[in-house]
Structure formats: structure tokens, C-alpha cells
């Protein structure tokens, strides 16, 4: 544990920028919208910026990515396949705890099962993560219901907590410890840790007054969603309001579904780029099989699937935590007003009855 002065905290990003591509939360000047994006100038990164509008998962799992290029030589009957993704070391500075929890879900999906996703692994393995404790929630937050905040508990290299005049720097990995030691910082002690605890407790108590947009009593509905005892009418009520835009999946820090398209190049015969892009279970074509059968044709069945992913115990066993990380972005972007917190309310309403 170390301490770093507020005026010096930018040095972490500067130091990381020596051998990493640095990403962090930045405010777009014209609109005031926060983005988690690549910083061309690390001084743009703001640790006090609101939660980024976009999920940081785009760093490891971009919205659209060329994963390989191939060239088929017909006369020679040979094919050349080249991986085509970027693998430079990346540092994420100022990641919010909920977004880190989302990335841990992605890790378990892409790397924690039988097959390891090479592209994801390449993005992820040379990564340095600096999280930022939320000393106060934002309007749409409900991480306290999903066990993913307001402070990160695992998965970071460094964790920063704003103690007022200085930041507490906790190390969460060997790599983090080596890096922090190299910064020549003052050591912190248990009194600082106690201050952090106080700040986190205060942050939790602030949810009642600040985080008023969304409440999601996840534990209450998890049993119902897992066992499938949610009435069909409830899913129909939710499905009727789904605009099938895909936004909930795109903004979700833990949604991992993707589409693959081979795009042929009209200027080079036999050449194609393989694109991987975000996909969504809200789309009818997503679950449609060759031959036309669709196990989840009605929209309510597709919604049901999404919330099974986020709220069921079976899925939790894969992620080792709930699939929902409580960031509240799906409620922001949903044209049908059926972000996860509202869905939890509708399921709970049925239980209460």
C-alpha cells in the first residue's frame, strides 16, 4: 500500500504510457459525454469523470475487429491466413469497479472454458489495470445489489481510492507491486485502509439519495429466474416493449456474444477480411438456425434468455459472480425502458403478489 498526492496521480498514466497504450475515462468537450477510450494525451484522463458512457470492454472486445485476413489462390489451391488484430500492451487507468467485474466475466467466458479465444487472450494478456474506487455513486448505479462495487476487490494491478487530499494505492498483483515500488511513493498504513473503509461505507450509504434511477434487488429474483418460475405473461409484458435494437448487449460490460462475417474484397479476388463484431440475443437472426428453425423466435423468449444470462445461478457458476455488474447502462440506452432494473422490478412485483 502506498500514497500518491492528488497532483501526482497523473504520473501513473504517464509512467504506464512509456510501454503501454493507455486507455481511460475522458470527457468529450462538445457534448460533456464521458468515454473510456484510448488516450493520445494521458493528461486527458479524468479520474473524477462520471462513469463512462461506453463499456471499457471495447478495449479487449472491440465493436468491430478484423481478426484475420485470408487470401485464397485458386490456381495454386493454397490459402494464406494472417491474424490481423492488434496486440500492443494496454493499460486501463481509472477503470470503475463494475467495469472490472464485467471484464472478469468476459475473462471467464473467453478464456476460462474449454476453448481459449486467441484474439481476446492477445488483448488481455499484456494488460495493466488501474481501478478507481467510486467514492460516491452515480444516478443509475446499483453495484451494491450485484456485488461489484463501489470498490474493486480482485482483478486489478493497482487500485486507487481518493482519500481527499491524496490517493491510496493498493496493489493487487505482482506486476502491480513492482510497478508501484518503482514510483517511489510514500508507504500507507492501516489507518489509511481504515479511511478507505469509511469512504466506501459512506459511498454505499449515498446510494439511497444519489443512485435513484435504478434499484435492482437481484438476490430476490435470482431464484425465480434460475428455476424458470417467472410467469409467461411477465416475459410477454417485457417482450412487447423490446425494440430489438441490441443496445443492452452492446453497452453491457459482461455481454460477450459476437457475430462473424467474412467480407470479401472486390479489388482482390480470393481475399477476405474476417470481422468479429458485437452481436445481441435481442436479435431474431441471432438465434435463427440454418434451415429456418428458431428456438427463440418470439421476442419475449429472447429477452428471457438475456436475463437468464444476467440473473441466473447457472450462469453465475460460469462467471463466479452474477452476470449483471450494476452499471445501469442498459437502462440508459433502452428505447423500450426495459433495462435490467425495470425487469427485476417486474419479476419482483410478481413475487410480491
Amino acid at each position: 500500500m502506498f500514497l500518491i498526492k492528488k497532483s501526482d496521480v497523473g504520473k501513473i498514466a504517464e509512467e504506464l504510457a512509456r510501454d503501454h497504450q493507455v486507455y481511460g475515462p475522458m470527457i468529450e468537450k462538445g457534448s460533456g459525454q464521458t468515454f473510456f477510450d484510448r488516450a493520445d494525451d494521458v493528461s486527458e484522463i479524468s479520474l473524477s469523470a462520471p462513469i463512462p458512457s461506453n463499456p471499457p470492454k471495447s478495449v479487449v472486445f472491440p465493436q468491430m475487429e478484423r481478426v484475420l485476413a485470408y487470401e485464397y489462390d485458386r490456381p495454386k489451391n493454397s490459402v494464406k491466413i494472417e491474424p490481423d488484430y492488434k496486440v500492443e500492451p494496454k493499460a486501463l487507468v481509472g477503470l470503475r469497479p463494475c467495469d472490472l467485474a464485467g471484464m472478469l466475466c468476459l475473462d471467464r467466458f473467453f478464456m476460462g472454458q474449454e476453448f481459449v479465444d486467441e484474439v481476446y487472450l492477445a488483448h488481455r494478456k499484456k494488460m495493466f489495470i488501474v481501478t478507481n474506487t467510486c467514492v460516491a455513486p452515480f444516478k443509475q448505479c446499483f453495484c451494491v445489489c450485484t456485488d461489484s462495487g463501489p470498490a474493486a476487490s480482485e482483478g486489478y494491478d493497482l487500485n486507487l481510492t481518493d482519500l481527499g487530499d491524496e490517493f491510496l494505492v493498493e496493489t493487487g498483483s505482482e506486476k502491480g507491486a513492482v510497478f508501484a515500488a518503482g514510483l517511489g511513493l510514500a508507504a500507507a498504513d492501516d489507518s489509511h485502509l481504515a479511511r478507505k473503509k469509511k469512504i466506501v461505507d459512506k459511498s454505499i450509504s449515498l446510494f439511497e439519495d444519489i443512485a435513484v434511477d435504478s434499484k435492482a434487488w437481484i438476490s430476490r429474483v435470482m431464484n425465480r429466474v434460475t428455476t424458470g418460475f417467472v410467469k409467461e405473461e411477465v416475459w410477454e409484458y417485457i417482450g412487447d416493449q423490446c425494440f430489438e435494437c441490441g443496445a443492452c448487449s452492446f453497452v453491457c460490460p459482461s455481454c460477450s456474444c459476437f457475430n462473424i462475417a467474412d467480407v470479401t474484397n472486390p479489388e482482390c479476388e480470393g481475399c477476405a477480411d474476417r470481422l468479429r463484431s458485437w452481436d445481441s440475443c435481442s436479435y431474431e437472426g441471432y438465434s435463427r438456425m440454418a434451415g429456418g428453425h428458431n428456438p427463440r423466435k418470439p421476442v419475449e423468449d429472447r429477452r428471457n434468455k438475456r436475463f437468464f444470462c444476467k440473473l441466473s445461478y447457472s450462469q453465475m457458476k460460469k462467471y463466479l459472480r452474477p452476470g449483471c455488474v450494476g452499471c445501469g447502462r442498459c437502462a440508459w440506452v433502452c428505447p423500450g425502458d426495459i433495462g435490467l432494473p425495470n425487469v427485476v422490478t417486474y419479476v419482483r412485483r410478481e413475487i410480491t403478489r
Binding site: M26, E28, G30, S31, G32, Q33, F35, D37, R38, A39, D40, E44, S53, N54, S58, P62, Q63, M64, D240, Q241, F243, E244, C245, G246, A247, F250, N259, A261, V263, T264, N265, P266, E267, L275, S277, D279, Y283, E284, G285, R288, G292, W332, V333, C334, P335, G336, D337
Partner: protein, 668 residues
């Protein structure tokens, strides 16, 4: 940071987004949270616009052909061929088919090119006249040729009527605003023959018999009038021409109205009372590829005027443009009889203003809409210039093949280019600064995000080059100077400059000295005139079924436009989604209810024959609760249906969204 603000250019909603760029290529898109229209939302199309903007399916080189296949040419050579070919014909034989997707600046310059360089008024947009019908009604009634209300005020409306538009599919973010209003307590009523998503989300669904929207609107107006729910002092002080409208009320008895619309007395009366008593009310209807017919729009407008729901906060008669710059297209004078800002070409003072600015005489011979010329065997049209045609199905393909000369100008590969003799590429809208005007008259600047590929010119530069080579030098150093010229000539755009639009979320016209920050909605207090009831007909030819042809077949167009959209085919995910229906029903489908299916003896996806007095087609049955017994619905995106079955029904098709054909459906 690598996030560049812009405007989505699929539909007429005009949502705000951010585009991410990697290596001069469009890599991603994200919604703009603080945008007043979209408030952080996008639809399936908007969320995947980066797939379109990154497509390799672009036109990148000028192409010319004489008799054989296309050969690549220099831009100089292709433009030279274009000019030489057009100059061979008298102006009456030349036509320009403009695009409702092009930016205001490109549309304006194409209009200027047609009129001031090639001397023809044969110019129109490449969609049918649905939106024109709306603008005619609203302009005649109020003087404002655009949406009277505002998307931002939807959530404040107490009553919302949605007529014949599948709005959550066609303009999803406007549909979302209506849904949010309903959730906040607004009385949302949908009037349609088919149960759409917005019908399911409405508090009340008036499932009218096909072809009877006008009658249902009449029934609402009649109730308001006969129950004295209107405000006579408002009619007296602010309106004129009510007598003409009132005459229609006596044409049909109440019972006839209920019978022809298929609605019940209490349904009509409840909705009419809600409308009349609400403090604020809005109506939305389709105005896209093919909207409602002008008479039905006239009835809708008159209903809202009678109810006193025009010109106040949360009120408005709101035609919904299906394409991103359809409103801008009319604002830029892309019609044979219009100059910019709905100023009539026939008006001598206006014509003089343009002649002075352009330094040339305007052509005096009246122009003709291109589609009418193509449908007319005796047309004089010989040469046609087409810009960024949208539909995958090229209608009038035979008529186009017969033309002597066709030029295609566009950014993306397009089946239309097959008919061309000269193809000229232009840059896409992210490769130049451009303004677009959405359905609520919001003029938004979308800034340049990437450099055009080598040698590609943005539209405004290409049109300037054509003009220069044809002997008329236009002196625009930058695209913003085109907008300056538009502002000089167009009262509603008088205060618009690119500098003023930069960094913001756009301004709603009129933007002028009196309204420097734009005009959110039509304001009765500032109108300075009486609002006129629109002159509507009192002829009601609701189609009826009989024993031989017991089904009323609705032909849906606008909501399925995206299925065969040329741009959609250049994406991956939206193409998959829009094609899902086509994959399930590759020959197209006719939608019938379970009861009808049982009677005919078919199940979902079984083949059926649809027989009308004019022809027949074989399609699959799609069994759905969304239609009522004895009505059927066929979407307008199946090649065979458009090219064969509907050919005999041109009169019917002119009715737009209300098009209805009595048919018989047989098991094959």
C-alpha cells in the same frame, strides 16, 4: 480520444452518435447521451452504421460505357461524357432523380445544376410523394411546410394518435419517445389495420378495416363536433374554412361509419373525448417512401385543428419522414414546381431572387416528376441523372432501360448503376461536412470524419466541377459557402451557417432574425394568420370485399422499406435481421389470421395463391394474430409481387399506405 460527433443518416429521426475512426476507416459507433432527439439511444440500424460506412462495396472509380461493358475513366472524361450526352437533348427531355439521402448542400447544388446549367425543371426526389402530400396540407393550412410539433415535446403530450405507421420499426427512437410518453401516463391511441408493436404498447388500439383510416378520422371529428367537445371561440378566432370540412360529417350515417371502419361506437367516442379534453395532443403518420394519401392527411390535420391541438405546447400534426433528409430534400426545392423552402417556382419575385443570385434565367417550362414520366409511355424523357438511389428493387427498370442516356452518381454500389452509361463516384457523408434536416425540421451539421479515398470528390465539388465544365463557374471555396447561399435564398434557413451549427445539436427551422435559436414548433401566437381547414373531398370509397374476393389485402410499404434497402445490404447484422423474414418466406408472404388459415386449410409457410381481379401470385401464408379475419397483409418487398402482381393495380398503389385490394386466397 477518438470519438467524433455526428448524425445518423438512416431514417428521418436524426439521432446523434459518435463515430470512432481507426486508420482512416470507420470502426465503431456509439449513441450521443445528451442529444435532444435520441438521448443516448439508437436503433438496430443506427447501432450498426459503422458496418455500412466501412463497406468495401463502394463506387471508387468513374465508369463509362458505350455499347459494351463499363471501362474505368478519369473524372474529367466521365464528366465530359455526361455533359455532352445531356446537351444533345432539349431541357424537357432531361431529368434529375435526386436522393432524399444527400446532404442539404448536395441537394441544393443538384437542384441548381438541373435548373441553371441544364435548364430543366424535371427534378424530383427518388421516393414517391408521401411527404409532399403532408407538406402540401400543412403548408396550405399553417404556412409551415414541415412537422408542426417537435420530437422533444412528445413526452409532454397528454394524447398521442399514431395512424398507420409501424413507428417502432420505421423510426424507432420516435416510437420510443411515444412509448415513454405512454409510460408517463399519456393516452396513446394507434389506428391501424394491423396490430403493430406500437398498437400493443398503446392504451387503445383502433383496428380499422383496411382502407378506412380516413373514415375513422372522420368519425372522430364528427363525434367531437356533435358532442360539442370543440371550442367554438377557437374556431372563430383562429381558423377559417371549417364549413367545408363540416359538410363531410353529414355524408354518412353513424352506422355506416361504424360498419365501414369496423369500429364500435364507444371506441370512437372514448377516443374522441380523450383527444378533445387533453391539454395537448399530437398525431404521427407515415410520410416516407409512400405515406398516406393527401386526402387522409387533410382529414387528420382538420381533426386536430377542430380539436384545437395545433400551435400549442405538446401539440402537433407530425408527418414522419422515413429517410434521413427527405424533409431537407423538399426544403432544397427538389420538386418540379418548387424552389428552396417550399417557395413556388411560379412566384415571380422568388424566381427573380434566384435568377439574380445565380446570374442566369430560370427555365420557364414546367417540369414533370420523374416517376410520372417513367410510367408514361408517351413521355419525352430521354436522359436521366440519378443520385444515390436507395431501393434494392429498381422499379420502372424497363422504362429506364429504354432511355437514351442514364448517369448514376453515388457513393455505394447500387443495382441502378447497371442501367447507367456513366457512373460517377462521390464521397460518403462522413468524408465531408454536411447538413441534414430531420423530420422535426432540425438542421444538423455532421462533420468530416475521414478523408475520401484517392480521387473521390464530395458531392458539392463534383457538381461544381460539372457546372464549371458546362460553362458556369460556381465559386465555392468551402462547403459552408453553399449553405451561406441557401440561407440568402431561403427565408426559413436565413440564419443558418455551418459555424452556428458546429458543436451543437442543430437548429429547427425557421431560423431567422426573429428566431435566432430556431423554432421548436409551430406557434399559434406567432402565426399572424388564421389556420385554414384543408379542402378535403367528401368521397369515401372504402374498398369492400365480396363473395368472390372475400379478403381485403393491405399492401404495406413503408415499414418494409428497409428489407430491400440498398444500404442495408451492405451491413452484416441489420442485413441479417431484415432478411430473417425473407429467409423464412423466400417467395414473400401473405399474412392471415389463424381463423382464416383454418378455413383455407393451410398452416404457416404453406404455399397459397392470392387472386385478385387483375392478377394472381403464389406466396407463402404467414399465420399471425396481427391481422383480423378476412383481412390479409402483404409486405411490399418481394420482387415478384412488385414486378408482376401489383402491375395491374397502379391505381390502388397510388393510395399509398391505405392501398387495399380485394382478393381471394386459395390453398395450392
Amino acid at each position: 480520444m477518438n470519438q467524433k460527433p455526428g448524425v445518423c443518416t438512416f431514417c428521418g429521426t436524426g439521432c446523434g452518435h459518435f463515430i470512432g475512426v481507426e486508420n482512416n476507416r470507420i470502426a465503431r459507433v456509439y449513441p450521443s447521451q445528451n442529444h435532444p432527439v435520441s438521448k443516448g439511444r439508437l436503433c438496430v440500424r443506427g447501432w450498426n452504421i459503422h458496418e455500412l460506412l466501412d463497406t468495401p462495396d463502394r463506387i471508387k472509380k468513374p465508369l463509362i460505357r458505350s455499347d459494351g461493358p463499363f471501362v474505368e475513366a478519369s473524372c474529367d472524361e466521365a464528366v465530359g461524357r455526361l455533359i455532352d450526352s445531356l446537351k444533345k437533348y432539349p431541357p424537357e427531355s432531361i431529368g434529375f432523380l435526386a436522393s432524399p439521402r444527400s446532404s442539404n448542400e448536395e441537394q441544393y447544388l443538384l437542384m441548381k445544376l438541373a435548373r441553371s446549367v441544364f435548364g430543366t425543371n424535371n427534378i424530383c426526389l427518388d421516393s414517391e410523394s408521401g411527404h409532399r402530400a403532408s407538406l402540401n396540407v400543412l403548408h396550405a393550412g399553417t404556412g409551415m411546410a414541415g412537422m408542426l410539433g417537435s420530437i422533444e415535446e412528445i413526452r409532454g403530450a397528454e394524447f398521442i394518435l399514431v395512424v398507420g405507421i409501424d413507428i417502432t420499426r420505421q423510426n424507432p427512437i420516435i416510437g420510443s419517445e411515444i412509448h415513454m410518453a405512454a409510460r408517463a401516463g399519456a393516452m396513446v391511441v394507434t389506428m391501424d389495420s394491423r396490430r403493430t408493436q406500437i398498437a400493443r404498447l398503446s392504451k387503445k388500439f383502433l383496428q380499422v378495416r383496411p382502407g378506412a383510416n380516413k373514415l375513422a378520422v372522420l368519425a372522430l371529428a364528427k363525434t367531437i363536433y356533435e358532442e360539442n367537445l370543440h371550442d367554438p371561440s377557437f374556431l372563430e378566432a383562429h381558423t377559417e374554412g371549417f364549413e367545408g370540412f363540416r359538410r363531410a360529417f353529414g355524408k354518412l350515417s353513424e352506422n355506416e361509419l361504424y360498419e365501414k371502419t369496423g369500429l364500435k361506437a364507444d371506441e370512437i367516442k372514448t377516443v374522441a373525448r380523450h383527444l378533445a379534453r387533453a391539454k395537448s395532443a399530437m398525431v404521427f403518420f407515415s410520410s416516407g417512401i409512400s405515406g398516406l394519401d393527401e386526402d387522409t392527411i387533410g382529414y387528420i390535420y382538420n381533426l386536430f385543428l377542430l380539436a384545437g391541438k395545433i400551435g400549442k405546447e405538446g401539440c402537433g400534426v407530425n408527418p414522419i419522414a422515413g429517410l434521413n433528409n427527405l424533409q431537407g430534400g423538399y426544403d432544397m426545392g427538389l420538386a418540379p414546381d418548387l424552389l428552396t423552402g417550399f417557395q413556388p417556382l411560379a412566384d415571380a419575385a422568388t424566381a427573380k431572387k434566384f435568377e439574380k443570385e445565380w446570374g442566369t434565367a430560370l427555365p420557364s417550362s414546367p417540369g414533370k416528376p420523374i416517376y410520372r414520366s417513367l410510367a408514361d409511355q408517351a413521355s419525352e424523357l430521354k436522359a436521366l441523372v440519378v443520385v444515390d438511389h436507395d431501393e434494392g428493387i429498381v422499379r420502372y427498370a424497363d422504362a429506364i432501360k429504354k432511355l437514351d442516356f442514364v448517369a448514376y452518381i453515388g457513393a455505394f454500389k447500387n443495382p441502378f448503376a447497371e442501367y447507367a452509361h456513366v457512373v460517377l463516384p462521390i464521397a460518403t457523408y462522413v468524408q465531408e461536412d454536411a447538413t441534414f434536416t430531420n423530420a422535426e425540421r432540425r438542421i444538423q451539421l455532421s462533420t468530416k470524419k475521414i478523408e475520401p479515398e484517392d480521387g473521390l470528390l464530395p458531392g458539392w465539388k463534383l457538381y461544381s466541377m460539372i457546372a464549371a465544365k458546362a460553362g458556369r463557374a460556381w465559386k465555392y471555396a468551402k462547403v459552408s459557402e453553399v449553405m451561406d447561399e441557401i440561407a440568402r435564398l431561403t427565408p426559413a434557413y436565413a440564419g443558418v451557417t455551418h459555424a452556428k451549427l458546429a458543436g451543437g445539436f442543430g437548429l429547427q427551422w425557421p431560423v431567422d432574425d426573429k428566431n435566432p435559436g430556431g423554432t421548436r414548433r409551430f406557434d399559434l401566437a406567432k402565426a399572424g394568420r388564421k389556420l385554414a381547414f384543408y379542402g378535403v373531398s367528401d368521397v369515401f370509397e372504402a374498398p369492400s370485399a365480396d363473395d368472390r374476393f372475400p379478403f381485403l389485402l393491405m399492401v404495406g410499404k413503408a415499414q418494409h422499406f428497409w428489407h430491400q434497402n440498398n444500404l442495408m445490404k451492405k451491413t452484416h447484422i441489420p442485413m441479417r435481421e431484415y432478411n430473417a423474414t425473407l429467409m423464412d418466406y423466400p417467395e414473400g408472404y401473405v399474412e392471415i389470421c389463424p381463423q382464416s388459415a383454418k378455413e383455407i386449410g393451410v398452416r404457416d409457410r404453406w404455399p397459397v395463391r392470392v387472386v385478385s381481379p387483375h392478377g394472381e401470385m403464389r406466396v407463402s401464408a404467414r399465420v399471425s394474430d396481427d391481422v383480423s379475419p378476412n383481412t390479409a397483409y402483404a409486405p411490399y418487398f418481394v420482387q415478384e409481387m412488385i414486378s408482376r402482381f401489383l402491375l395491374g393495380h397502379t391505381e390502388v398503389l397510388r393510395q399509398g399506405e391505405d392501398a387495399t385490394i380485394p382478393v381471394r386466397i386459395e390453398k395450392v
